[in-house]
Symmetry: C2
Subunit: 216 residues, 2 copies
């Protein structure tokens, strides 16, 4: 009942290091390696391992496509763990959405690595099931960096934009903020200028796209 592992990483040193760590563990066995995404797909297809440690950034086919292809073409696919250097690697979310079971930082220590592999292999337990994939799916669309204009808005202007995005008219905003309608118009004009939009509707769209309305 040993766990059979395939390593996919374009750097030989990484593969060697991972192999050294994993083969030292009883119950774990590295059965194959791949240096590209395409290679990973074919190797996995041949060897049918239990777990694949997959680098995201690889030549030819990246880890995401490889993950997709493996999961799509194999009847009983292995658990795929995405390995990455950066915690906030955008590819990670793509990979999770593609069906990877989890991700692992390259700076993780040997102990954590081994336990992660064991955990994933048995799985059906920790975070991984449908939940994470759903999370990742939803997350993907929200992960755009906030545009520069957000910071340029003055206090009053953000306030006005927020109320615009709540569907209020200028008069209502004026009432809500305790100022005259003319003042609101001034702020609105400033918002339109800074967001590079031509009317309140576009401004509201920009606010939503920018994640400006996160705290609804």
């Amino acid at each position: 009942m040993t766990i059979r592992i395939v390593l996919a990483d374009d750097e030989r040193m990484v593969r060697t290091a991972l192999r050294a760590i994993l083969t030292a563990e009883p119950g774990l066995e590295v059965v194959g390696e791949a240096a590209t995404g395409a290679e990973a797909v074919s190797v996995v297809r041949e060897l049918a391992p239990d777990v694949v440690l997959m680098d995201v950034r690889m030549p030819e086919i990246d880890g995401i496509r490889a993950t997709e292809q493996i999961l799509a073409t194999l009847p009983d696919p292995p658990r795929i763990v995405v390995v990455t250097t950066f915690e906030n690697d955008a590819y990670v979310y793509e990979a999770l959405r593609a069906g990877a079971s989890g991700f692992l930082l390259k700076r993780a220590d040997a102990d954590a690595l081994v336990q992660a592999v064991r955990l994933v292999a048995h799985s059906d337990c920790l975070l991984f099931p449908a939940a994470v994939r759903a999370l990742a799916t939803e997350y993907g669309r929200a992960k755009t960096a906030p545009p520069a204009w957000v910071a340029r808005l003055t206090g009053r202007e953000s306030e006005v934009l927020r109320l615009m995005a709540a569907g209020l008219t200028n008069a209502e905003i004026a009432g809500r903020m305790g100022v005259g309608p003319a003042t609101v118009k001034t702020h609105v004009a400033a918002v339109l200028a800074k967001t590079a939009t031509r009317d309140r509707t576009q401004a509201v769209i920009a606010a939503y796209e920018a994640g400006f309305m996160k705290d609804v």
Copy 2:
């Protein structure tokens, strides 16, 4: 360097079972138990464990609030793993957002439980860090069911709403759709009626809130 664990669950049997599994493992030690959320907070504050296994559904204070309080009040808080029966428990997402490090299904086998605890205790590796919390945060807002009006929109009306939400004026929409401006106005009026909004801005807001713009 043993991992000190606190169990929080209102059912004695569950606590007993977990304790039996965990104490059998070398390197793990159950140092305390709690039957309510409030009790969990005070017990954790006293014992400063490394890991807390927290049931979500508990009397008085539920697991989410308890998690919040623990993380808010303690300087060096423990890792909190939420334990639940149902895979799709809505509370799980709340808990993750509150700062829990992961979640665990009650039907997980002993082996997985032990490995999960070990993993979380050392952490900094698998899925848990900022990523999951961000995912959970985003997930929460996207998980609202689409309102009824979405289905009531006719083909042309949805098209118009989509273009409204792209920031186009009626004239532009007319050009884009190859119809007269008057027609667009009719459709817009229909959209406003069906979405129960009074102007295009509110309609666009409704579209965004309804997840109508998911496929941007």
